[in-house]
Subunit: 191 residues, 2 copies
Amino acid sequence: MTVRVMGVDPGLTRCGLAVVDVEPNRRATLVAVGVVGTPADQSLDKRLLKIAESVDIWLDAHAPAVLAVERVFSQLNVSTVMGTAQASGVVIVAAARRGIPVALHTPTEVKAAVTGNGQSDKTAVTKMVTKILRLSTAPTPADAADALALAITHAWRTGASSPAQLQSGSTGLTAAQRLWAEAEAKARRRR
Amino acid sequence: MTVRVMGVDPGLTRCGLAVVDVEPNRRATLVAVGVVGTPADQSLDKRLLKIAESVDIWLDAHAPAVLAVERVFSQLNVSTVMGTAQASGVVIVAAARRGIPVALHTPTEVKAAVTGNGQSDKTAVTKMVTKILRLSTAPTPADAADALALAITHAWRTGASSPAQLQSGSTGLTAAQRLWAEAEAKARRRR
C-alpha cells in the first residue's frame, strides 16, 4: 500500500515542508515541496504563528499518514537552536491535534538512508533526493530538500509502506530493496 | 485600569500556569494558578499536545490581555532545554492565534522584579509571590510560583497596568511605587 509521508525540517527563518508518496517497493513520488520563511525582524510569536498556520494548511491539504520531523539537538548551532526547537514543537503539535503520528529522525539517520553515508554533505543529499524522486531539477533551498529526505527516510527506515515485508529482514526483498537494506546497514555501522 | 496577565513557566514535565490581575497601583491579585504535567514515558507529541490543550483552555477561560513567558536559554540544563523550548513554542503560538501579545522575560528579570535581587533562589521568589498576592499558603510547586512571578514581573516592569504613569519615571508614583522602582533599579544595576 502506498503511504503518504510529510517531512518537516523545522526552523524559524526557513522551515522546509515536503510530502511524498512511497510505494511498497520503496518507489517514492513527490507530492508537494516548499519552504515557509519568516523575517528575522518579526516578533517571535508572529514567526511561530506563520509556521503553525502553514503546517496546518499542509496537513489538511495533504492528509499524510505520518509526520517525520528532524530531531533537534542542543549541541548544534547554539544561536539558532532555541528557535528551531520552538518551531519543531509547534509543528509536532499540529500533527498531534489531528491524530497524525509523529516520528523524529536525526540528520545522520536521514543522510545514511538517502545517500548510504551518515556523514554526507547537503549537496549529496539534494542530489540523491533529486534522483530518488526522478525530478528534472534539484529541489531548492536545502531546507526543502532536507524535508523531502526526511519523508523518504521515514518511509524507508520504518518500512512504513510495507511493514510485514521490510521488518522481516531480507526475506522477500527485491534485489533493489536488498541493496538499500545493505547500504543502510553499512551506514548504521559507520555511525 | 486593572490588567489581567497570564504567566507561563514552560516545561514538558511541569508547565506552570498563572493568571493575575494587576491594578495601576501595582496591587496584584491571584486569579488562577496551576501546573500541567506530562509523564516522561509518554511520547513527545502527546506531551506537547497536552500542554497545548491546557494553555488553550486557560487562555479561553481567563482571556488575559498579555501572555508572559519565561525566555529559554540554550546554555542552561542541556538535557531538558529542548523540551522546554518546544513547550514554549507551543505556548507562544496559542496566544498568537488569539491575537494576545506575548512578552518574554528572563529568570533574572523575574527574580529582580519580585525580590529586588536578580540572583534570588526559588524559595525567596515563592516567599515574595506569596506576600505580594496576599496568599495564606505558598503556591506549589515552584513552577506554579514561577508562573505567578512572571505575570507580576511583566505587569510591573512594563507598567502594563498604568503605562503613562509608570513610564514617566518617578513622577506621580506613590511612596510604595517609588520603593519598588528603586528596588528594581538597584536590581538592574546589580545584573
